[in-house]
């Protein structure tokens, strides 16, 4: 059972890439879901908008699968909470 954060990330990715949510598992790679580089760019933007975070370029390059995206967002949210 995916946690809330994972569920939200999957929803954003499905909506942005116009793909059915059932085809995206918590451990799916972007390649397996059939996402290309244009999808990748738009997903980064959509995740930044959804969670109001800023994903640095070096981190962005490493996001290739759902777990990468989830952990990346989790880290950014934690860092922001720590600063507050």
């Amino acid at each position: 059972m995916p946690d809330d954060l994972t569920a939200r990330v999957i929803e954003v990715i499905a909506k942005t890439s116009h793909k059915p949510i059932e085809g995206i598992q918590p451990d799916s790679t972007f390649e397996a879901i059939g996402l290309d580089s244009l999808d990748g760019m738009q997903i980064l933007f959509a995740l930044e908008e959804e969670f109001n975070v800023s994903i640095p370029d070096e981190a962005a390059r490493k996001i290739r699968a759902i777990p990468d995206a989830v952990e990346g967002i989790r880290g950014l949210l934690a860092a922001r909470a720590a600063e507050a």
């Binding site: 116009h18 244009l38 760019m41 738009q42 980064l44 933007f45 930044e48 908008e49």
Partner: protein, 393 residues
């Protein structure tokens, strides 16, 4: 080497039809697409009329992410034209025209940035805005790898584009071409900018009319497939017309007011390029915007070059002034009319201004078999482009 250049495919997106047969019927019947504007935002505008394309939709969801409205319209028109031609060779050239580019996304992005203070831009903002998006879309969608670029010369953009594509095919640089133009004019910033020039009419578009008081904007796209006439015949393609000449000039005069001298020189250049004398021209599809500035000046220029007996009309009262798409949409209107044996009338005219001398066609479309016609586009900044079109044999 100079080859004759046939038109083997046509496509159009406009307020009066987004298929060639509906468009042709609208032109024949004089059915105007100018109507009260439907806008998603409240706007304070003096003129609330426009020729909008209702319920336009083309392409996939992904296309909608990458391309703005003007590029999707170009894609739709290109698809019609390429299907009509029965396909297109991979080394075809693509030459498109646009005045405004992706202004819907641009306007929305800048509003978010400046007014809503959202500093995160969509990653595809640049491809959405760039004027060349249609040329890229068409090239990618149909795998076209020949010369490909976009021309921007305000209201003459797609005339210049078609003229350039014609020369590429005529001179053997390309074996075929997809060419035309598109513009989606109805974004808030663009509407306000045009209103500020005081050339947009609050009442309607009445080219050559004594009571004309301005232009009405339109949106849309038109595309043509060009190939050498011999090759088209050899493969049994339907020949929809021919491009036989292209002429250009600059007024070197005023940034918005036309000079008749520039228009006359462009028409003469087009005739010279076609190797035709003035008497060969049976019809002029005028730039005819309906502004006090253009129409009288244009009529005088036509008279100087062609005499006062050549029939003249403007179809802008039907599809509006589509800016970067105007040259292409009007070339299509001229070609379909010639092929069907009629000359379009100028809609909306109450009485012809004495200042607009010549045989101005008003009322009903006129039945006539005309061999060759001119299509005029005279842009802001004095950039003039004239196409010479021929009916299929």
């Amino acid at each position: 080497m100079r080859r004759r250049v046939a038109v083997t495919g046509l496509g159009v997106v406009s307020a009066i039809g987004s298929a060639i047969d509906t468009f042709t019927e609208s032109v024949r019947c004089g059915r105007s697409g100018i109507a009260p504007l439907q806008l998603p935002v409240e706007l304070d505008l003096r003129s609330r009329l426009g020729a909008q394309v209702a319920e336009f939709r083309w392409g996939t969801d992904r296309d909608g992410d990458v391309y703005d409205r003007f590029a999707l319209m170009a894609g739709a028109a290109a698809e019609q034209a390429i299907e009509a031609a029965g396909g297109i060779t991979a080394d075809a050239a693509v030459v498109t025209g646009s005045c405004l580019g992706g202004n819907h996304f641009e306007d929305a992005s800048f509003h978010q940035f400046y007014a809503e203070r959202r500093s995160r831009f969509h990653p595809l903002t640049v491809p959405r805005i760039m004027e060349n998006a249609p040329a890229s879309l068409i090239s990618m969608r149909w795998g076209l790898r020949g010369p490909a670029y976009t021309v921007s010369s305000a209201c003459a953009s797609s005339s210049h584009a078609i003229g350039q594509a014609y020369w590429l095919v005529r001179d053997g640089v390309a074996e075929a071409a997809v060419t035309g133009g598109s513009d989606a004019t109805f974004s808030p910033g663009i509407l306000k900018a045009w209103e500020a020039m005081r050339v947009v009419s609050p009442t309607g578009c009445r080219p050559f009319s004594a009571d004309r008081d301005g232009m009405i904007l339109g949106e849309g796209a038109a595309m043509l497939v060009l190939e050498p006439l011999d090759a088209a015949r050899a493969r049994g393609a339907a020949i929809l017309g021919e491009i036989v000449g292209f002429g250009m000039s600059a007024d070197a005069s005023h940034i918005t007011q036309p000079s008749g001298d520039g228009a006359a020189r462009a028409m003469r250049a087009a005739l010279a390029d076609a190797g035709l004398g003035p008497s060969a021209i049976g019809y002029v599809n005028a730039h005819g915007t309906g502004t006090p500035a253009n129409d009288g000046v244009e009529c005088k220029a036509i008279q100087q070059v062609l005499g006062d007996r050549v029939p003249v009309s403007s179809t802008k009262a039907l599809h509006g002034h589509t800016l970067g798409a105007a040259g292409a949409i009007e070339a299509v209107a001229t070609l379909v009319a010639m092929r069907q044996g009629f000359l379009p009338a100028t809609a909306g005219v109450t009485s012809v201004d004495p200042d607009c001398a010549g045989d101005i066609i008003i009322g009903e479309a006129r039945r006539a078999q005309v061999e060759c016609a001119l299509s005029n586009s005279f842009a802001f900044g004095g950039l003039n482009a004239v196409l010479v079109l021929r009916r299929p044999e």
